[in-house]
Symmetry: none
Subunit: 228 residues, 4 copies
DNA sequence: GATGAATGAGTGTTCATTCAT
DNA sequence: CATGAATGAACACTCATTCAT
């Protein structure tokens, strides 16, 4: 790649540099823009391949100015992943926890997961891919959050099994399999694709139900949720 | 000729350096070692984070010597992925194609995939993670090979559906879901873990069978295959 | 999200390093210094032999800082040559174009060329030597500029011939011969040498006049010009 | 540039390497081929840009084998230049020395120089360009030879001047100018070009004669010589 | 002689990070 | 807050050279 900043001033502009402040944007807006741009870049090229000069350019800043918003590239990634996970967990809690019936709860989980993983496709993709770019301490923090999420499904599965709604040979393997299956949609889902979110949810409910042998189908009208 | 130029040459001739020579090694062995070391490194740190000096050190070479085996880091990745996929496809053909019965074939595929993705865990993991490190041309080549693999499963699924062994709502989504589920094992499988390959295969056969609603179970004695 | 991966991150986050900051310098000054240092180095050692680390040191920079001024070593050369040629052409236009009489014009050209090629000896030397270090596209751009310069002399020669001031057998060969002869001085001229610029000009005027057989000598008071 | 040796043996050929000796070529032939190929490469890309792997490939050798013929790249250049200059000087001696009359001698020199510099265009071009790639010791050796050649012309010029055939203001400058003019043809001459060697010689005789004001023309039938 | 394999020393280029202005 | 200018550390890649086979 060519150096993105490449300037050649053999003809020497002698501009005295007074700096401009943004016209009507607040710092918080800029921060949001940076976050968004970063997610897009990391999603497409990976964290290591995202260089800060380009990221700054995305939000009409020069490289140096980025550091008014982020402390370290490395730390920035961690914050990104952790905040995403916190949001995921709190959304999960809000939408699935109220439900008591194991079968209802399982399907609510499927719906929730599928919707989140299509609506926030880029962030979850990053969350899966960029773990190895974390420092050891960051890694353990992030993994802990992920475990909480996985544990949530595992608890649903065990409760339903205990209640006799389905049978499970191996809770761990089953939960991993279900999660892998559901998460897979973020690899190929396109918002403008052939299938609606609702359709996707339906299809995956059926697949999950089949996989673990849910006793009888249930129908409950649920509205697709737009996340963010 | 032109009049001689009086200015004196300030550049000294490069001092020749001491060189070493190969004791008694074969290039092919070294190549194999490089490949193996590269897979391990890419698996652990990612392709971008694998630096060639370390890779060379892994096989007791100095950096420059690597280039007797690798044309470009970038090209090396592509060759790695493509050769893995070619091997995967030819193994698939050898082991699954002979089987005619759709149900048998489906289960053979599950077994094949699971075994390959545990035995060659690192390579398949790389194959899924490092797509974005490919150049556009390399990407299309690799994706084409992957599609052939996916198409194989899709064809099994449709044939079985046509033959009435199971029902499928959406062939594409179903195949993706099944592949994602099965591929997921490469994310957490440990050779020294709690579960044997055979056990894993059994569990996933059941999950897949359930997911697509295979009419009746079948039992066929199959031996787990050690790949490479 | 996918099940968490147990493997531990071995990559440590890059330790941030101590950095320095500019005291009170202007970028334009630095650019000029780089240009000057580069010309000196290329003149003495050749473009390929000029390494950027040393160039940076010449202007009290570290290697990386050079890239705030130069996009690519290769591109830098091209810009250097082209800007020199543009300057040459515009100076030529300013100093020779106003003159109408072919003989006067020819001598003005000789004077101009000789003075420029002694005053800017290094740059023109580079301009002749480093053509082969240019990329094909750069090469055609530079050659086009050189052709304009050559064409200028050719037009003087033909006009004078048409007006009967001298006779020319072959316009192309004659112009090349004259240019080669005049340009030759940049190969051996030393500012502190035995001969003054003025003397040199006189000598070459006579040689050129003789070579093409100018009908009668002319005397016009001309002041030697210091270029840059 | 891509590494020219780039091999990728992921599929591992296990060829035991018996080496081939050339079918019917002698070592001397190979040496000549190397010299020729080197001249062509240096002429086109410059000495520094000529890499030995490519040079070896030009003569169907592998890199290592080159060292059976050349001791050092650096030394090779020096030998190339010196042997060319020795040949030039001995040819000069053979063809021009026998002539006594200053005017005849001058024209013989012009003819000789022009023919040599068109027939051996590449070598003389290299001889002018690559001086700076020589080590200091090599440089002084080569310059000494060049000086002998320059001195030869200077002596012709002074003798003719003393004998009253022409007048010279400054022997040094005049000789440089004449040499530069004549040598210039090697910059643009193409063997398949518009002008024959003979025509070129004629044109340059006239230019030189004019430049130094030779009293009267002379005509002597001379055959163009094919060098090498 | 020819070849394969290895090496040391560059060499251009990228990039996160810092800080005076 | 924004910018320009600087830096250190790394990194992929090249190349002349050596030497056992």
């Amino acid at each position: 790649m060519l150096p993105s900043q490449a300037r050649l001033l053999l003809t020497l502009p002698r501009t005295p540099h007074k700096m401009a402040r943004p016209p009507g944007v607040s710092g918080a807006d800029t921060m949001r823009a940076i976050r968004k741009a970063a997610i897009a870049r990391i999603f497409r090229y990976g964290f290591e391949a995202m260089n800060l000069r380009d990221l700054a350019a995305d939000v009409n800043l020069k490289l140096g100015s980025l550091y008014n918003y982020i402390p370290q590239k490395q730390e920035f990634l961690s914050v990104l992943l952790e905040s995403t996970l916190h949001e995921l967990l709190s959304d999960l809690d809000a939408q699935v926890s109220p439900i008591a019936d194991p079968r209802e709860k399982l399907f609510a989980f499927v719906r929730f997961h599928t919707e989140w993983h299509t609506a926030r496709k880029e962030e979850v993709f990053i969350g899966n891919m960029e773990l190895r770019s974390l420092s050891p301490q960051q890694y353990v923090r992030v993994i802990a959050l992920r475990k909480r999420y996985e544990a949530y499904l595992q608890s649903i599965l065990s409760q339903g099994a205990k209640a006799g709604y389905w049978t499970i040979r191996d809770a761990k393997v089953t939960s991993y399999a279900v999660l892998a299956m559901l998460t897979g949609v973020s690899n190929w889902y396109r918002p403008d694709g052939r299938l609606s979110q609702a359709k996707l949810v339906k299809l995956h409910e059926r697949l999950v139900a089949g996989a673990i042998g849910v006793q009888e189908p249930m129908a409950a009208p649920r509205s697709a949720i737009r996340h963010k």
